[in-house]
């Protein structure tokens, strides 16, 4: 009853306040070799806006790739060596914006904001002059030059499918045995209880493997989403996430007494958070602290971030070892809890 | 027992595809009668009861219940009958009184009527003190007796009882039948199915269905005489053993 009445309230609050596509305080990097009056004041203006927060200042073009791969920086602003001079002499200058387009929506929004700030600056310094200054912005979309939505949703769909198939179906089939009374007979047989459960989970493990394969094939050959990183690593991480999902399914099945309950728990406790908090629909960075904290216990968040790094950004285990360890920890924790809760008897 | 017919069935038939569940049964039930409706599992009892209570359309034949036609006036039939089964009876999470109110309300009884009769019924059941207790806290036997009282609360002409005493202890079973007798004396016709053969003896008349047909219909005494046996159990076994089909 509480859930039925409370859910709409919670959802409205989450959607209304926390989950917005609006981008705030995004971490950016600045490469400013000229360090002149114009760049300083433009950077100051960028920092003054609520959209950006200068996270690091870099000193060479070589540093650009690595900082993006670390994943913290969403946008880099690159000034040429003699920005102010160009501006003063030719009334024209160049700025390059490089965005992490593995999330095309965020990349698009950020470059738009940045362009607006630059235009604003250009208009301000032009206002008392006859000949207008022109600041050209050149944009580069890193990882996803065409800003394809598929780059974003393929990892999201992978997380969701695995979760649905493994968690929900495992939970439901086991609970179904309880409902039908067949669990009762199976328990009074020499079959080891845990073998029953493993036997129930294996088909879904296989099924998910087929699902992962078909999603990847479709992505590569139909949607033109490349697999930039190691395929082996991607498959390994996917299996890891599948196992976490199975463990969650087992945990639910040990608690739920009816198929409806199992389904409801799977949906409310897993599916909704996955959709809302994994970063797939709404960027996690923009959520208020409480939600960001909650999002850390959503396994899909870590998996989603891994898939994006490996598949789209093409980076290796050295960059995702932290996420991988977290997923492994979750696997051990949930599996342990499921085994502890598994009943060798009826009540 | 009067000679007013409250149920008449003529060649009543129900087919599901090419399976004839109820095969041209004809019988009458009189007002205030306790009519036992026996048959092996799958003989067609449930289907026949569903047709008579307006829940299922017959394929062919004629039937009227409480003076209403089963084809055209099934809503009126529902107003004039009560129904109770072993499986569906009361809401476990409501109290005794709430259950009564709920069912009486469905049949459109006035608040005044409900209030007065509730007190009466609870007294008869010796449940006055338990009126505000949840039904699930009552022992099974009491639940069954309460369910019967609820089924006849709106004073229907006929009450259909589908295995009302299954699994009930022998003492409560007899108390239950005593209630059936009292209802019949008050003019309510009782149409009852049971697996207990001793209960068949308590009926005024008994019909025995075999393979969708009514193979025997008479008083228990006459049935025993006809088949030359000493108990209803033997009558039933003699008839039901002839059954060819065994599907449920």
């Amino acid at each position: 009853m509480f859930i039925l009445l409370g859910m709409p309230v919670v959802q409205i609050i989450i959607f209304g306040f926390a989950l917005t596509n609006e981008v705030k305080n995004s971490k950016i990097a600045i490469l400013d070799p000229s360090k002149d009056a114009a760049t300083t004041s433009l950077i100051a203006q960028m920092e003054a806006s609520r959209y950006f927060e200068v996270d690091q200042v870099i000193h060479s073009a070589e540093e650009i790739e690595p900082i993006f791969k670390k994943g913290k920086i969403k946008l880099a602003v690159i000034f040429p060596a003699n920005f102010n001079e160009d501006l003063q002499h030719f009334n024209k200058a160049q700025v390059q914006l490089i965005a992490d387009a593995s999330d095309p929506n965020v990349a698009n929004t950020l470059t738009n904001y940045a362009t607006a700030v630059i235009m604003d600056y250009q208009n301000r310094i032009t206002s008392d002059r006859k000949l207008p200054y022109t600041i050209n912005t050149e944009m580069r979309m890193l990882y996803n030059p065409e800003l394809k939505g598929a780059y974003n949703f393929v990892p999201g769909v992978m997380a969701m499918v695995l979760l649905l198939v493994c968690t929900m179906m495992t939970a439901i089939t086991i609970v179904r045995e309880k409902e039908m009374g067949t669990m009762e007979i199976m328990l009074v047989s020499p079959m080891k209880p845990f073998r029953i459960v493993i036997a129930k989970a294996v088909p879904y493990l296989l099924l998910s493997s087929v699902n992962i394969a078909s999603i990847l094939l479709l992505s590569v050959f139909v949607l033109d989403v490349p697999i930039n990183g190691s395929l082996v690593l991607l498959v390994f991480e996917s299996l890891l996430f599948t196992l976490v999902s199975l463990a969650l399914g087992l945990l639910i099945s040990s608690k739920a007494e009816s198929q409806q309950t199992a389904m409801f728990i799977s949906l409310v406790a897993l599916f909704l958070p996955t959709v809302m908090l994994s970063g797939f629909m709404f960027p996690v960075e923009n959520m208020p602290l409480p939600l960001r904290t909650v999002s850390n216990i959503v396994p899909a968040k870590w998996y989603y971030s891994i898939v994006k790094s490996v598949m789209i950004k093409g980076i290796g285990l050295h960059a995702v070892w932290k996420e991988t360890l977290i997923l492994m920890g979750m696997l051990v924790f949930f599996l342990g809890l499921a085994i502890k809760n598994f009943k060798i008897r009826l009540a | 027992m009067s000679t007013d017919k409250v149920i008449t069935a003529e060649q009543l038939t129900k087919r599901f595809g090419d399976f004839t569940a109820v095969d041209a049964i004809s019988f009458d039930v009189y007002k205030g009668e306790i009519f036992g409706f026996l048959g092996a599992n799958g003989a067609g009892k449930t289907t026949a009861m569903r047709m008579l209570s307006g829940l299922s359309m017959p394929t062919s034949g004629k039937a009227s219940v409480a003076g209403f036609d089963v084809y055209k006036e099934n809503e009126k039939i529902k107003q004039n009958i009560g129904y109770m089964s072993q499986k569906f009876s009361l809401y476990e999470d409501l109290t005794v009184k709430e259950n009564i109110r709920f069912y009486a309300g469905i049949y459109g009884k006035s608040d005044q009527f409900i209030k007065e009769k509730t007190a009466l019924v609870l007294e008869q059941l010796h449940l006055t003190a338990e009126g505000n207790k949840l039904v699930k806290s009552l022992p099974l036997g009491w639940k069954q007796k309460l369910a019967f009282s609820v089924a006849i609360f709106h004073e229907p002409q006929i009450v259909f009882l589908d295995e009302p005493t299954g699994g009930v202890d022998p003492v409560t079973r007899r108390e239950f039948w005593n209630m059936i007798y009292l209802a019949a004396e008050a003019g309510i016709t009782v149409f009852v199915t049971t697996h207990y053969m001793d209960e068949a003896e308590y009926c005024n008349r008994v019909s025995i269905m075999v393979d969708g047909r009514i193979d025997a219909l008479d008083t228990p005494e006459q049935l025993k005489r006809t088949y030359g046996v000493t108990s209803m159990d033997d009558v039933f076994l003699k008839l039901a053993r002839k059954a060819v089909r065994s599907a449920d």
Binding site: M186, R345 | A40, L140, V168, E185, M197, M232
Partner: protein, 304 residues
């Protein structure tokens, strides 16, 4: 060695606030190869007892052994050697008859062929339907399949929880004939039922009500211990007759019993006085002495 020993078992359900007691200190023993009936109405605690003995539930108090093995400590070993048929039909409804049987044979590390002689009599009756889905079988056939599956590994003790509930008289008779035959194979059978008339088919019975055992004995022993004389009476108006019987001081109890009413005499020598009493009422009646049966005993025990 005793096949089943139950020692002072109690079982409660629910939290501290609302406790329902299913079993209150039950004890009994079952010999090897015995057909032991546990007879009582719904809610008497039969299913709880069976689940404790099949290691599915833990009792709060007391101990029990099956085949000499403790039901708590040696649950794995017990699960190897008992057959269990729960009250509710618990096979895979979307598998066929044959598939169900093969499946359970595999689970118990055996094959259908290995123990076919044991289930032959029962299984041959449903064999013509072996490709039918179990969910589409009639009640009687489901029951035969469930029994075949419970027997497939040649268990030493067979637990049948209300196998005949909701089953018509013909199928019930057939079922008990099957149990008789199984007994010849030296399998101990514990069977629960709410039908009192099935008691006479057991070697020994425990009458159970509200979690307590009222009596444990052979069916004949239970009847013998009734100790009172029962008179069967009938007339054309049974309701009036019952009312009159309830009024007289001569009787311990009077209740309907099928075609007749049973009148339990307080004193065996009072039969003649009862006849006189009824004659004064001025209607024709039939009266005869009769033997008590399990149901009479159960009611008498319930009232104590």
């Amino acid at each position: 060695m005793k096949s089943v020993v139950v020692n002072n078992i109690s079982k409660r359900y629910g939290s501290k606030k609302a406790v329902t007691t299913a079993l209150r200190g039950i004890s009994f023993e079952v010999d090897k190869g015995e057909l032991f009936g546990i007879i009582g109405p719904d809610g008497a605690g039969k299913t709880s007892l069976f689940r404790i003995l099949t290691t599915l539930l833990l009792a709060e108090e007391g101990t029990a052994t099956v085949d000499g093995l403790d039901v708590v400590k040696a649950y794995k070993a017990i699960r190897q050697r008992v057959g269990y048929m729960p009250g509710r039909f618990s096979l895979y409804q979307d598998l066929t008859v044959k598939e169900n049987l093969d499946f359970f044979a595999t689970i118990f590390n055996t094959s259908v062929e290995e123990n076919y002689d044991l289930i032959k009599d029962i299984y041959s009756q449903i064999e013509p339907f072996k490709d039918r889905k179990a969910g589409k079988l009639s009640g009687g056939m489901k029951q035969k399949l469930a029994l075949s599956c419970a027997l497939i590994h040649r268990p030493s003790v067979l637990f049948l929880d209300e196998p005949t509930t909701g089953v018509d008289a013909v199928s019930r008779k057939e079922f008990w004939e099957m149990l008789r035959k199984l007994k010849e194979q030296q399998i101990t059978i514990l069977v629960s039922t709410p039908y009192m008339d099935e008691a006479s088919l057991c070697d020994k019975v425990a009458l159970i009500q509200s979690g307590k055992i009222l009596s444990i004995d052979t069916p004949e022993g239970v009847v013998r211990s009734f100790g009172k004389k029962i008179i069967a009476v009938k007339s054309s108006n049974m309701l009036n007759l019952l009312a009159d019987l309830k009024k007289t001081e001569l009787l311990e109890d009077a209740y309907p019993f099928g075609e007749y009413h049973h009148a339990v005499l307080k004193n065996e020598s009072n039969e003649h006085e009862l006849k006189n009493y009824l004659q004064q009422k001025g209607y024709p009646f039939e009266i005869k002495g009769t033997d008590p049966n399990i149901e009479d005993c159960f009611m008498a025990l319930m009232k104590n």
